[in-house]
């Protein structure tokens, strides 16, 4: 018979691996072109019609089981997306952690509001106070080294271990539901923007923004192994020195767009 710990780890493994399988299938359907390849415990799609790179990496290191998702779309109007789901056991205790955030190159209020509302609805199933905390933690955590937000945020939480006899089960179910929330939170945005016409100007801006993401990932990714970090990086990134977007341009507007804001409460009319 399995110990309580072993059966818990097995249950989390099953959640992570079925989550990985489903997300991979959904991403392939949305891309419509490329298929995911397998690299050890990672599933990786490259050079798709919609996604330049998408990876769904299953992690099993020390006391941690997890799933890391990174999506770098081809069209600069489609925001990049990152998420991580984590289960840890250490010194007899256990907890869940997670994060999801949206990284646009161009600000669409409709997209940011949809993303945050979907995450809030998911968080509310656990506890009505949870979203506000996890949103604030994300706004605080995902800041670039020069203290600009790297995107429009999302949620970050750690050390989730609800008390009570069903605490573990509730947190595990919340994690499974979290993985299943990637598609409704992100895919409608992808569909809305993936065919918007764009040219070299938008592509260069996207590569510039990706440079910032690389800086962030390499500054904060030390906990993961080098190959996993690399897989989550954008395939191509640019560094331009002293580059400032033209005042008044859509590129220049991003800076004020990514300022932390209570997106989930904004009505559709207000953001339309």
């Amino acid at each position: 018979m399995l110990s309580g710990e072993d059966s818990r780890r097995d249950a989390v493994k099953a959640i992570m691996s079925s989550g990985q399988r489903e997300l991979v299938a959904e991403l392939e359907r949305l891309d419509g072109g490329a298929r995911f390849g397998r690299f050890g415990s990672a599933r990786l799609l490259e050079n798709g019609d919609v996604f330049e790179r998408a990876c769904v990496v299953s992690v099993n290191r020390g006391g941690t089981l997890g799933l890391t998702v990174a999506i770098h779309p081809r069209n600069p109007y489609v925001p990049a997306f990152q998420a991580a789901f984590r289960y840890c056991e250490h010194a007899g205790s256990w907890w869940f952690g997670g994060a999801a955030d949206l990284l646009p190159c161009y600000g669409f209020a409709e997209d940011a509001a949809h993303f945050h509302r979907t995450l809030k609805n998911h968080c509310d199933t656990l506890d009505p106070a949870f979203h506000a905390q996890a949103k604030r933690a994300c706004d605080d955590h995902f800041r670039l080294p020069c203290d600009e937000p790297r995107g429009v945020g999302g949620i970050v939480f750690d050390h989730l271990c609800p008390p009570g006899p069903h605490g573990w089960r509730r947190a595990a179910a919340f994690t499974a539901a979290g993985i299943a929330t990637v598609a409704p939170a992100y895919f409608p945005i992808v569909r809305r923007r993936k065919d918007l016409p764009h040219g070299d100007r938008e592509r260069q801006w996207q590569l510039h923004r990706r440079g910032r993401h690389v800086e962030f990932a390499l500054a904060h990714g030390a906990a993961a192994d080098a190959e996993t970090v690399r897989m989550t990086l954008p395939p191509l990134a640019r560094w331009e020195s002293g580059f400032t977007p033209e005042p008044g341009s859509a590129e220049a507007e991003l800076a004020s767009f990514v300022v932390p804001r209570d997106w989930a409460s904004e009505t559709a009319a207000a953001v339309g």
Copy 2:
């Protein structure tokens, strides 16, 4: 009248700024196309005929005066080059530091031997034992996070403060000569390789190698401000997952080429 410290700092400032001016002029002549622009204390050339990016940044932060050089050539057969020259004063003591290393995408023994021999000749003017130490320090320091050498090395030294009444003057002159050694150490290699024909395969390999350099720079560049670090980064870099060069290819050979080796002692015949 100036204090001893002030006049020393002024003398170093003069060395750094005339070094910057001369190197910029030499790089412009070698490029033949683009000119350097000015960004605060940085001089930056972009999109040249020979250099995709070259920067010569003068640094004046706290007790440190310095010059940082980063050169990213367009042709994948031309190695990238980095160097830094530094003067520090702290709590009544002073010292000089420096580094220079060569980062090829393709291994040419002739280039590596020329580079190391030129640096050794320069180091020998200070002390015949100096080069071996500074070469070993470079081999130890410039290793990528996954413990592969990032290039064929060069020299690294710090806390250089020769004793005696002329110690400061000797170290300052060594630094001025070091800046003047960039051209004879690196430019003949640039001239030899800059017109070699290449295609997309070589370009993709170059972008892949640059990805490794970005990882290194961001892991070790925390001491400098973000804008200076960005200026030294390659303009464009690629991350490919699970990418391994074809066995036996020129790209695959790089791994064994960049292993630390006593390049300066190899005769022209042996490396021909």
